[in-house]
Amino acid sequence: MSTIKPAPKTSPLYSNQRITDDDIYRNSSQFTKWSFTKDGLQKSRENIAESTKDRYTTKLQDFLSNEENTKELTDDETQALKYEFNLGISATEQLQIVTLYTQKVQAFCTKLKLPTEVTATAMSFFKKFYISFSVLDLHPKNLIFTCIFLACKSENHFISADTFASKVKQAKESILDGEFMLLQSLKFSLMVHHVFKPLHGFYLDIQSVLSGKVDKNYLGTVYENSKKRLMNSYLTDALYHFSPPHITLSSLLMEDEQLMMKYLELKFLGFDPNTPIDKLNDSQKISKEMYDKLLNSINLCKEELQKNMIPNRESAWKIDARIHYYSDPMTFIKRYRAQKAKETENSTEPDAKRQKV
């Protein structure tokens, strides 16, 4: 028999510590592992770009030290190759090409009629991978389906590998082979706190706070438009810098600023935000301080959401080509020669060319 004595007051059983909603978010892997300062994120990306550049340099040296390769190269061609390889893939270029392919992830998910959250998770996985890996490690086009497949599993949307592979017309192995590396790049954290739940929450709360002041059908339109806009937030870095409710508020604000300012004012202040500070009582001062802080965050987030990193076709082509050249520098030479030939052709036969057009 155990001794008859209750747990001492020092036992964790009696701890008065309550876990607040804020604690929960702060303990989520999204916050502990996937939130960055802008500088921190930039630094990670610069590091990847740096190592990418080193790899190009090494590759170039290896290529040029092999006489098999160099014996047929003109000085001109060697110079051009050196120039191209010296460019590496900059942090901005990698971000651009990754953003472009993240958009492709979204397009494929839409085509596969996947639920919103699976799509958003796949997009977020995709972008995260390239914070720790270079496009040289795995070409973005080879990660698309692995991301979608893992996102399906993680979000409880079952599709067997065989069905999935046949749907997207890819070899099953090519989808599964990258899974482990992807999971590793995600730091083994799969939970993504999305923006769609907060959107629904605000949608309901706006109706109650602005009861009778806002048309329900109109609010429905705002909701739908914001949902589309929020999907695009997964193309940006917003989720690394802001919490989902912040992103949602920013997005709603971009949709209808007047409506949202009214809502925020009533929700968080309850008095005119232009009231001079000396006219406010203590609790109002605290409210005002928090309100200002919130507005500041929302506006910063708005800037992030407005960034568009998708490259134009020409730059996308150039970056893509350079990734390709890395695996086989000879392809660069071939393209260079073809281009030279075309230039010569153009300059010697301008009339013929013009006629063709």
């Binding site: 028999m1 155990s2 001794t3 008859i4 004595k5 209750p6 747990a7 001492p8 036992s11 964790p12 059983l13 876990i19 604690d23 929960i24 303990n27 989520s28 892997s29 639920p115 919103t116 959250e117 497949f149 893992l150 599993k153 993680s154 409880n156 079952f158 067997s160 590998a161 065989d162 069905t163 099953k172 989808i175 599964l176 899974e179 482990f180 999971l183 590793q184 083994f188 954290s189 799969l190 939970m191 769609f196 739940k197 959107l199 629904h200």
Partner: protein
């Protein structure tokens, strides 16, 4: 450096389909200033094993990394801060083909404790166990996570007497029906004896209450020391449950007849009244009995949620729970 470098795998503790659990011991070469315990459990999930198995069997689909491994990793990562949930210290890989989860080493579980008939729980020990289980489940439900496999073997006990919920291989997020209402969840969850009636009746639209049902039965098992509803198969489970808890009617449980496995030819067993419940469990307090009756309400709508359980009179009334260290002493007797 990840924790893989801190620990050596000492001996095999158990083996599942795709995972092997080892006892991990801190390497003497490493400094002990990082707050990690001397012993851990290392759950090694073998990926090549998964592939091979699928190829050999050549039936069923290859799915890559096993879904239960994905769930376990996904949820444990988010549940690091609660005393009543098993702690994941780290995840690392030694080769390209395995994932290692470094977990708290918890040598005991509730199943072993229940089976050890020499141990006698007093009302304070019982409350200690009930309270901790409810707290753990509360944390899960608050994070919108349904465990979906609560049973004595998945409730582990630490050397400090703390109860820890483990095994998240079946867990999932509950979508509250807002935007992406999930009305198509698999009902093939929870070990049979702990399956809630809505699951047995084939509902694909259940919620957190299935965990409460399992907990209710676990509590009874603590009292009587044998499983309360040990059905031989799912059909037998349903019959047994109706015999003991009464066949649900439209009056107690609106729309129950619409559930796939509800058969109109069912024998209508009467619902036990309070007196009947009292006869079954004579030694517990009125408030404890209330808690049990409400946790085992057939209709999920009327069944208490975890907050109601935690705020119940049973938890408030005397006696206070015993000291977790008493549970340790009890285990070592």
């Amino acid at each position: 450096m990840d924790t893989g470098d801190y620990y050596s795998k000492e001996k095999k503790l158990g083996e599942g389909t795709f995972a092997i659990v080892y006892l991990g011991k801190k390497r003497p070469s490493n400094k002990i200033n990082d707050g990690l315990p001397e012993q851990v459990a290392i759950k090694e999930i073998k990926l090549d094993l998964m592939k091979k198995q699928s190829e050999d069997v050549n039936k069923g689909d290859v799915t890559g990394i096993d879904i239960s491994a994905i769930r376990e990793i996904k949820y444990l990562q988010e549940l690091r801060q609660h005393d009543n949930i098993i702690k994941l210290f780290d995840v690392y890989t030694d080769t390209t083909n395995s994932i290692n989860l470094v977990l708290e080493f918890l040598p005991m579980d509730l199943e072993k404790l229940i089976k050890k008939k020499t141990i006698i729980f007093n009302s304070m020990d019982l409350k200690l166990i009930v309270l901790q289980m409810l707290r753990g489940v509360n944390h899960l439900h608050r994070l919108s996570i349904m465990h979906r496999d609560l049973k004595p073997a998945n409730l582990l006990i630490g050397n400090d007497g703390m109860i820890k919920i483990a095994d998240f291989g079946l867990a999932r997020i509950y979508d509250d029906g807002g935007i992406n209402a999930h009305s198509n969840m698999t009902n093939n969850v929870v070990t049979r004896w702990y399956k809630a009636p809505e699951l047995l009746l084939g509902s694909k639209n259940y919620d957190f209450k299935i965990d409460i049902w399992s907990l209710g039965l676990i509590i009874i098992e603590l009292l009587i020391r044998v499983p309360y509803l040990p059905g031989k198969d799912d059909a037998d489970q349903l019959t047994l449950m109706f015999k003991v808890m009464g066949t649900p009617t439209e009056k107690d449980w609106p729309h129950v007849k619409a559930l796939p496995n509800y058969n109109t030819n069912l024998y209508m067993y009467p619902k036990p009244n309070r007196q009947e419940w009292r006869k079954r469990f004579v030694a517990i307090s009125d408030n404890f009995l209330d808690l049990l009756i409400n946790m085992l309400e057939m209709s999920p709508k009327s069944r208490w949620n975890v907050i109601q359980c935690l705020e119940s009179e049973y938890i408030r009334e005397y006696p206070r729970p015993s000291d977790p260290m008493d549970l340790v002493a009890l285990m070592n007797e």
